[in-house]
Symmetry: none
Subunit: 223 residues, 2 copies
DNA sequence: CCCCATTTTAAGCAAATCTTAAGAAAGCAC
DNA sequence: GTGCTTTCTTAAGATTTGCTTAAAATGGGG
């Protein structure tokens, strides 16, 4: 699941964007103010930043600059009413990846977001775990070359586990990352999905690729 | 286990926070008054301070300032009804890491606490003790490169010992830090776990990495 | 509006872990 | 060596956590 942070002080715009992007199954957080926005951005939770040029508190440009120092690869897109060449250059120098001028069509923004989030050549789009192959672009999972039909959530869970192959994934983290649920870990939903994955992947005894780590969570692991 | 000290004179607020944070599995202590709060803060037991701006006795700002002299890295968050710029700057100059205005949503506070407690890049995630490796991120323990399956408590105990490698760890301290039990040291539970650790790590005679310090406690030690 | 696939909740059962307790062994002072 | 204290080891009961299944909610498409 891709996570987007919007820093935008006009609730009209931010709500519109949040709803639209959530319908496209992104996880969206909104900060209405610069200090809060910067802090959230630096938390490292996000895969893309949508910054308003001018927000109360720390400005979008400043957020972008400070963010760039920490996260060199995460894309930043500016939303701006300004379109003079000077300011644009200034913004790009601050490390932004793209600009979009208000007012804009939602489709155009979405397209640009997709461009930024498209895995760059050289980046992994295909992950493997033993004889299992997971392709994040075609959204296909194969085991021994045979297609396994997974639902959205099942795919997201498997993707999260495989991306973190070799590390124990804590339940709280899984719930946050795959379900976008925060502050409520007493649900048994992870277990049900792990169960479904193991069943659909038809893991035999000697194919213990999805291991449970009692008291902590689960781990995808090569054998 | 992360330990939080709340200094807040309104029992309504402090109880609400204590309960909520404990449900998130933080260890929480409350001081209702400044002098007591300062004393507890300076004890060095805590990983984060939640200070009310105004409390009877020593003020929150004063606690923060005095605390900063001793503990440069431990985060401090203020709870405050005040939000004028002057006071905010004053608070930040006193060394606070963040502010949150009353009234606030518990989720927001929790989010900010998590941001502050997130291990900063560059901090140690991997600790070693002889041929033993403990990774706090992947939650794995290796001996001679081979994975050792530890339970939660076993892992926590080993982590505590290794983090304090070379220092004797008193039983009372271990019970407080690993089990969060205070004022009750007559339990034999540490011995049982030390035993389990030595067994699982399969420590031979010349690998006495976890030493008994008779009458005091235990010590992890390079040989 | 209904149907169907997906997601979530709930509950009983199984298994691993945690804690307690008690006897054995080891360390220490005399 | 004797007697006392501390630590080690084991095992059993209590508790927690995970597995599995079925049923209930949810949500999108016809």
């Amino acid at each position: 699941m891709m996570r987007i942070l919007i820093v935008e002080d006009e609730p009209g715009i931010s709500n519109f964007l949040k709803q639209g992007l959530e319908e496209e199954s992104y996880a969206v957080d909104v900060a209405e103010e610069g200090n809060n926005g910067l802090q959230l951005a630096l938390s490292g939770e996000y895969d893309l930043l949508l910054l308003d040029w001018m927000v109360p508190g720390v400005s979008g440009i400043e957020i972008c600059r400070r963010f760039r120092k920490e996260f060199k690869e995460t894309p930043v897109i500016f939303l701006t009413a300004k379109d003079t060449v000077d300011e644009t250059i200034f913004g790009l120098q601050s490390g932004a990846n793209d600009f979009i001028k208000k007012p804009f069509h939602f489709e155009e923004l979405l397209e640009r977001i997709k461009v930024q989030l498209r895995p760059k050549s050289g980046e992994h789009a295909v992950f493997t775990l033993g004889n299992i192959t997971l392709n994040t672009v075609s959204h296909l999972v194969l085991k021994d070359g045979k297609e396994i039909g997974l639902t959205q959530k099942e795919f997201a869970l498997l993707e999260y586990l495989i991306r973190n192959k070799g590390s124990v994934c804590r339940r709280a983290r899984i719930i946050e990352r795959v379900w976008d649920i925060h502050f409520e870990y007493n649900t048994g939903v992870i277990d049900v999905y792990i169960n479904a994955l193991r069943k659909k992947l038809n893991l035999s005894e000697d194919e213990n690729y999805i291991q449970t780590v009692r008291g902590i969570g689960y781990m995808a692991k090569e054998l």
